[in-house]
Symmetry: none
Subunit: 201 residues, 4 copies
DNA sequence: GATGAATGAGTGTTCATTCAT
DNA sequence: TATGAATGAACACTCATTCAT
């Protein structure tokens, strides 16, 4: 990894723990093992580091949603995702992914500092997840697996549960394997309840 | 309000928006309209301001939970709370209350900065609400309003919904009347769904 | 002891350890168990405390030298002072006396800070002791105990030894009983050598 | 001289006059004609400046004692040092040397402020001089110039005289040429007395 | 690509002092 | 006598940034 990338990853790592302001150029330079003034060869200023991180994140998310949309819209794919696939692709590539998880933490703790951060937080922690998750249930109703009313109800319930679990286990303290496992268990057991409801309703 | 209290409220107000580190003693003094050095007549140092805020909050919460516990445990009170009562007492005195709401925001954005803040965040955003909310549903089952299994299921669902709504509408951007209303509507409509489930189940 | 005196003694105690500047009004007030602003009822300002201490010391020394001069000039008193008398009166009331010892330390560490302190240091650590000590030997020569030349020589040697011992044992680290004893032993053994010289010379 | 050295010398110069605490970083920066913040490029903090000065001094003293020991132990050198040599090498390179003289003043006025300074003061103002000076007289007795008993007696007397003269003339007020001359005269005349004693004894 | 040296603005904090009560 | 409340000036120190090399 070249110096520029190292600066980005090190910065995000520290921003997500201590916030933008509390991380100094000294800290960043120290963690990358270069001198402070060398930072300015790679980035215009501190804000430029933050902007680059955000840009990188948005591009990353664009790639991820493209993949997800393709998967969800693929009409052949009429059977629900297996738990393993969910864990690997949906959870593993987003919620558990170190880069994304750190960005979520960063957006959460910086949301009140600027309008820009506020809107990123709103979009990536609530709007987009809600759209994607409820969208998946509507797709199931279009595929005849559940009724349209169930889709609406289950979609909202799923989003509530996922959001709560995310804040409670993935954006709270250090991200440990234990927390990831608890998150998966609770998510899957909730899924089972929904499935029960679908069969009974 | 005396100077000491003004310092506490002004500090929390700014801490909740910009975080502890980004708020300077100069800022606090300016907002209270005294000089920086005067702050140190009332508080040992900046950390002491924070400690005093946390102490005040914990005492406030102790008072609130005492009231809530008394209400929930009151055996005469076998009928469920009206929406108005819920809005006034439960939401209004905690989730919407400016002091409590600011503290929640503050704990959220400072949770990674210290173990102390981390445990406060865990306790007051997740543990205590879960205990109180699921407790209320168990009380209903003991009063024969719902079954024990329903109590367990509804309690969890309610907590998930409330947590999601709290993060989405009450700890996200400025706390406006509009957001409070949206929060209430969604909470009450969720309640209606639960009630429907209770009658049908 | 009234508050004013307490302030003086507490101040000197701390001044002698940490120097005038390093001792704050807060420190003094704290050690006397009053509030800072109360200091200003008793003294115009911090400098006034120092001035009062110096005045007290000069009056104290005036009293001491009067006594000493009377003793030395008393023509009846033709026999040399006993070691015990020397220890009690000369060492005990000046070099070992807590007030005087602290003042000597204070003058030593503050001598470069002001011309006033410089001249006090010069007078009370060198000039006056030299005058008194060599004076005592001249008195012995006038009393025929030693020759005039011996008086000159012994006086200087005695002053050198006493000055060295004072700086080495009484104005160096904490003033312990052990150091006082070492000081006495070395002073007396030097006295014995002088006596030997007087008899042989 | 580079900035770092300038800071060290300027700092010691002021420390020796006003004491460590009374000299501000502002003062040091001003005397070196750089800005306060630039100090921190060269030194971690104010204490680091002091530590560097002490280290420099201890290394300097190590070099000096090596030279002195070699000279004193040189068995060929059976004739006593000439006054000129003494003045140039012993006095000139240590007692009169601006760096060493300032350090002695600094240790004297800071001795009560920290255990570190206390032990430096004890070592460099008393222990080491006593060892070196009495050592020189023992060397003379081993070379048959004086008796062993004389060595003991003269060594102590010489050390007392030198110590007194040092405190009285070299660590008292400004170090002027006049004081240096007085110091030399008194030291040499004392030496003459000792020589007389050696020949007569 | 990277660094040594420097800086203005700002940080939390301590200081001696004042003054009304 | 003593204090509560306040303050301007100073303190040691950190910050993001610049620029010549």
């Amino acid at each position: 990894m070249d110096t520029k990338q190292k600066i980005l990853y090190s910065s995000l790592d520290m921003f997500a723990k201590r916030g933008y302001n509390a991380v100094s150029i000294r800290d960043i330079a120290g963690s990358v093992k270069i001198k402070e003034s060398s930072i300015y060869y790679h980035f215009k200023n501190k804000q430029d580091i933050l902007d680059s991180i955000v840009k990188k994140y948005e591009e990353h998310i664009d790639g991820l949603t493209d993949v997800l949309n393709t998967a969800v819209n693929d009409t052949d794919n009429s059977k629900p995702l297996s738990f393993d696939a969910m864990k690997t692709y949906f959870f593993g590539q987003y919620l558990f992914d170190p880069f994304c998880n750190k960005m979520m933490r960063f957006m959460m703790i910086e949301q009140f500092n600027s309008g820009k951060m506020q809107s990123l937080y709103e979009r990536y922690l609530f709007e987009l997840p809600e759209k994607l998750q409820t969208g998946a249930f509507f797709m199931m109703s279009r595929n005849g697996i559940i009724s349209e009313q169930q889709a609406r109800q289950f979609g909202q319930a799923f989003f509530s549960e996922m959001t709560m679990l995310t804040f409670r286990y993935l954006l709270n303290g250090e991200l440990t394997e234990e927390k990831k496992n608890t998150f998966c268990e609770k998510a899957f057991s909730f899924f089972d309840i929904l499935k029960g409801g679908a069969e009974n309703g």
